[in-house]
Structure formats: C-alpha cells, structure tokens
Symmetry: C2
Subunit: 319 residues, 2 copies
DNA sequence: AGCCTTTACGACAACGTTGTCAAGATCTCG
DNA sequence: CGAGATCTTGACAACGTTGTCGTAAAGGCT
C-alpha cells in the first residue's frame, strides 16, 4: 500500500535509521489505515535475542488477595516496560504447576515468575538449564540459584508471638497451613523460636498444621477452644485461616476474650470487632521487585521484603 | 538425536498418524532427554488457522475481588482447554486500555476478553474488523455485535432498593461510581426505577455519583449523614464503596441505625457487625462463561448471569 | 569530470514449525 | 510372484518478521 518492500516497513516500525522521511510518512499512514501490527510470533522467531517481551506468572491462587496484589505488582512493572504477562493459578496442584510451566516455556516467556511448590525443583532446574530466566517469589527451593523475593516468615511470626507473650499469654495456639508449603514451615519455626525464647514449651495439642492433622482449620480451631485448658491467644499462619478464626471466635462470643494475630493483612481487618492485628506483607512490592529482577539481566540473590506488625485490637487482648 | 527429520518430530509431537512405534519411541525419548518443547511462536506462525491457544484479558483491576474471581473463572476454563491467559489491569486509564489491546493483538491472541470503557468502541471495532474474537464482560458498548456476559444491574439494584423500601425506608441514599462506567449507569437507573415505582421522588441531595460530584465516596457518605434530614438507608453501588460506607457508619456508631445494601459480595461481609446485606454477583461464573464463549466459534449474544440478594442484617434494619 | 563516501532502499536467508507432496519400503491379494 | 495399495518417512515451501548484504542514486571532494 505504501509501495515499499516489507523490509522497509520493518525499518519504519522499529525506528531503524536509513529511511527517508517521505517514505516513513507513507508507511506510517498505510500502517494506520490498515491497522497493521507486527506479528509478535514472527518477531520473536526472528529476533537475534529471541525476546518475546512476555512473562509467565504462576501463583497459587489469583483470587486470593495476597497473590492478586502480588500479580498487580508484577503487572505494574511489566506494563511500563512493554511486557505482557501470562497468569495462572495452581491451587497447589503439582500437575497444573508442571503443565503451566511447560506451556509458558513453549511460549518462550522471557522470565517465569513463580511461587514454587516443594516438588517443582526438578522441572524448574530443567527450565533454568535451558537458559530461561526464573524468579521465585514467596517461596524458595534449595539449590536453585535464581533471583528470589521472600519475606522472613520466621521473623515476622516471632514478632507476632512475642507480641502476644508480652501481653501475658502462655498458651498460644498455632494454626498453620500444610508444612509442605515453604511459608508455612518458616512461620511454624518462628512460633517455636518465640515460645522457647520465652521459656515456654511447645504444647503439641495447641498446634494445628494442615496436612499433618488432616482436619480443616475450622475444625482445628474448634478443637483448640474445646480443650479443658484452651489457648488464651491464637496465631494464624495465613489470611484465610485468620478469617476462619475470626468467624469461630465471633460465633462463640470469644472475640474479646481470645487474642488473635494473623500472618498477612486483609481487607476489612480494621472494621471487624475488634480489629484484627496482623503481620502485614507488602505483596505489591514483592511482585514489583520480582518483575524488576526478571527484567534485569544482572538481578540475582535473595531479596527480603520486610513485614510489619499492625496493631488493631485483637492482638492486644491480655491473657 | 533420534536420527529422524524434524518433520517426523513434528508428527510425533502432534500425534499425527503414520509414524512407526519404534520411531515414535526414539523421538519421545530424545525429546524427554533434551527437554524439547515446540516453539509456540513458530507453531502459531505456520498453523493454517493461526491459533495461538492464548487469550488476552483486560479488566479494571485484578487486585479487586470481583475482577480477581472473574479472572479465576476465565483461567479455570482456559487451563482445561490448554489456553494460556494474558492479564492486565487498566485502572480505568484509557491509554492503557488501548495500549494493552494493541499488545494483545500483536501477540495474536485467539480472543480478547475485556470489560471495556465507554471509549473503547473505536479501537475494539477495528480489532473485530480484523477478524479477531472479542468477548465483553461486565460492561458493554452499543453497536458491538460480540458475545457478552453481563448481569442485570438495574434489576439487581431494584431488588436491593425494593428490599429497603419494604422495610419502611423512604430516604435512601445512592452512592455510585462514575456514570462513565456502564455498571454504574444501570445501577443508578435501577435505583430511580425502584423509588419512582414506590411513588418516592428522587432527592438529588441523597445521590452521589463519583465524577459528577467530584468528591470521594467517603466525603459523600459523610455529607449525606450530616444532612439535616439524613437518609435512613444507603445503597452502595460497588464493593469498595460498600466497605467505605461500613467504615463511616461504624466510626459514627450508626451501623445499627442506618440500613445498608451494597452491590457485589465481598469477603467477610458476614463477619462484620451487622453482617452486610448485598446483591451478590457470581464473578467466577461470569468469567467461565466468557471463556466458553471465547472458545466456541458459534458463541454469540448477550448472556445475563443472575444476581442474588443475600440478607445478612444491615439491609434488614427498619426505618 | 572522476572517484569515493554516504544514503536509501530491496533481495534474500533464516528463525522453528506445519502442510503438501513425493518416494521408497512393506504389505495384501489374486 | 507381481501389481497395486498402504505405510512410513523426508524434501521443500511457507508463515511474517529481522539481520546481512548488495546496489543504485545522490552527495562531496579534488
């Protein structure tokens, strides 16, 4: 339509030098009139560096507030740099994790940003060996030397449990997710450290770790509260479990009697009665940092994003 | 490595007939050993139908619970069918909307699933004219004959406002988003219909529509409650505004005095005091339906997903 | 004017696949 | 045992770009 070779179009579109301004204008006009967009598949295929300007993001659940905000953080950075983002949720299903990793690799993503399960080590190693960039968020795996963004789960939990201990609590329940989840292990470790640091022995009957016990968090909380010598405080190791605890405590009229601190902030935590004290993460920042590491060829190492204890009432109930 | 031509590899990988089982095994072994994955860019480039098994999803905010769940619904269906999903949030910024649409078109998505702004008509028309599949969710545009998934915003709102009227309320505040948002217009229309249907004239001083008024929802709620003759009930036209209303009412100690019904369900709505009555949508179903329409070449028309009034207490406070 | 440099373009190969076609090997059946 | 059918495989073009190179035209210098 502009009466030039397709190579000249390529030059104009990519802003390469060596095209007269008259021809440039003609090409631009024709491109606008036709709604021409370069075919990204062909571009990626031909480019020397093979870059596709695409990330693959693989998280547990894009419907969960924490991961949704993490995704927003990735998006924010990606959009600025013209990178498109594939997303998918695993729901902790390893088959899906493998399948989606393969799907992203087939689509030649420039980087895979993922919160891996413990089992992911093997296939991630292959992905890395093929020279594809991998960035880990929220969770990590031994022996994988890739840029990683984490929080100090043990430290955050220690802060929370110390906070409860300082208010006189000795019997503090722990409600955590399956220990096969990296964050869950760190949080349990922090709980144990805090208690032993204060000279309190860990009472296994106050500990619920999903997958070990088999029962649901709700049943576990009920069980703890039904003990002859029930806990005076609860630490919950994830937002969903925290909300479950709030629900159970409310239904039993114990909201103002049993202290509660949860890991992860969530919407409306301040509007509940009492407000829920939490160890907050900054998932948007975690995501943004991960995306920057994915874009920076020199990016490496483990980056810790700090957590913050937010007092809202539930964690300040004395023993 | 398997000692065959690359065409034979293609046959094995795609399960085409006419390859002996011995060769198939050799190829599979070699592929496994090398971690070979077909290059999706090359495949898409060469395929007769040009399919990329990729969707582009463009919503307002993946961090908002409604859109996050909508995205999950899309993901659920997409994964089943081997489709990868690009996601991006516009935050109502039209420049981003255009930019990301172009980015998805360049990447040859099989379908663009989007909640369009009013301004998107022009560029979407071009995208459709180029033969690319477009599916609208949550919002629609006149003169775009594409598969669409909506809820009946006016009906849902009428149900909510009728519910308040049935409990004796006559002065019912309306707190909505910018009328440039499709859903916001339908919800306001439903509010007006319900009131006039009950013989109540709409009092403009009880109506806040962001963008018209200029002020924030929080300021608007404060203003309404400060009126000499304040509303006895509020209808809030979106989850974020509902949460703001809960916050203001709580701070003023009016939670048990002023009735409240909100559009959109949200987490913890049942754990607030009182529980928040809402007109709930089923965003996951909306997303799943949209994805199915995107995959089905025969999919067309406007599909309405029903809303449901969930009574939790705040909407049952009498005048 | 004659030569060299620069500018502005096009021709062509290549990226890694799939679709088409051809050809050799093997099987079937009278 | 031979002719035809079928089965298995490879050669080659093509998808829409980018990178390399060639070349005609224009410009600069002596």
């Amino acid at each position: 339509m502009a009466g030039v070779s397709f190579k000249t179009v390529s030059r104009v579109v990519n802003g390469e030098p060596g095209v007269s301004s008259a021809v440039t204008d003609r090409v631009r006009e024709a491109a606008a009139a036709l709604g021409y967009r370069p075919n990204a598949a062909a571009t990626a295929l031909r480019r020397a560096d093979g870059r596709t300007a695409t990330f693959g993001v693989l998280l547990e659940d894009a419907g969960n507030h924490f991961f949704a905000m993490l995704l927003r953080g990735i998006e924010d950075v990606a959009r600025e740099r013209g990178v498109a983002v594939f997303t998918s949720s695993t729901d902790l299903d390893f088959a899906r994790e493998r399948e989606m990793t393969a799907a992203y690799v087939a689509r030649q993503v420039d980087a895979l940003i993922t919160a891996p399960s413990d089992s992911a080590g093997e296939h991630l190693r292959r992905v890395i060996a093929q020279g594809r960039r991998v960035v880990l968020v929220d969770r990590t795996l031994d022996g994988l030397d890739v840029p990683t963004v984490l929080v100090d789960n043990a430290l955050g939990t220690r802060t929370a449990v110390d906070h409860l201990i300082a208010r006189g609590h000795r019997r503090i329940g722990f409600l955590g997710r399956d220990p096969s989840i990296y964050t869950s292990r760190g949080r349990y470790a922090g709980y144990v450290e805090a208690l032993t640091g204060a000279g309190i022995t860990v009472d296994p009957s106050l500990v619920h770790r999903e997958g070990f016990t088999g029962s649901s968090p709700r049943a576990a909380i009920e069980r703890l509260l039904d003990l002859p010598d029930p806990p005076t405080a609860l630490f919950t190791g994830q937002d969903v479990i925290t909300m479950t605890a709030v629900s159970v405590l409310q239904r039993r009229g114990l909201s103002d009697r049993v202290a509660l601190v949860g890991f992860d902030d969530f919407e409306l935590a301040d509007l509940l009665q009492p407000g829920v004290t939490v160890v907050a993460q900054d998932p948007r920042r975690i995501g943004a940092l991960a995306a920057e590491l994915a874009l920076d060829p020199a990016g490496s190492g483990v980056h810790l994003v700090p957590t913050q204890l937010i007092e809202r009432g539930s964690g300040e109930i004395p023993a």
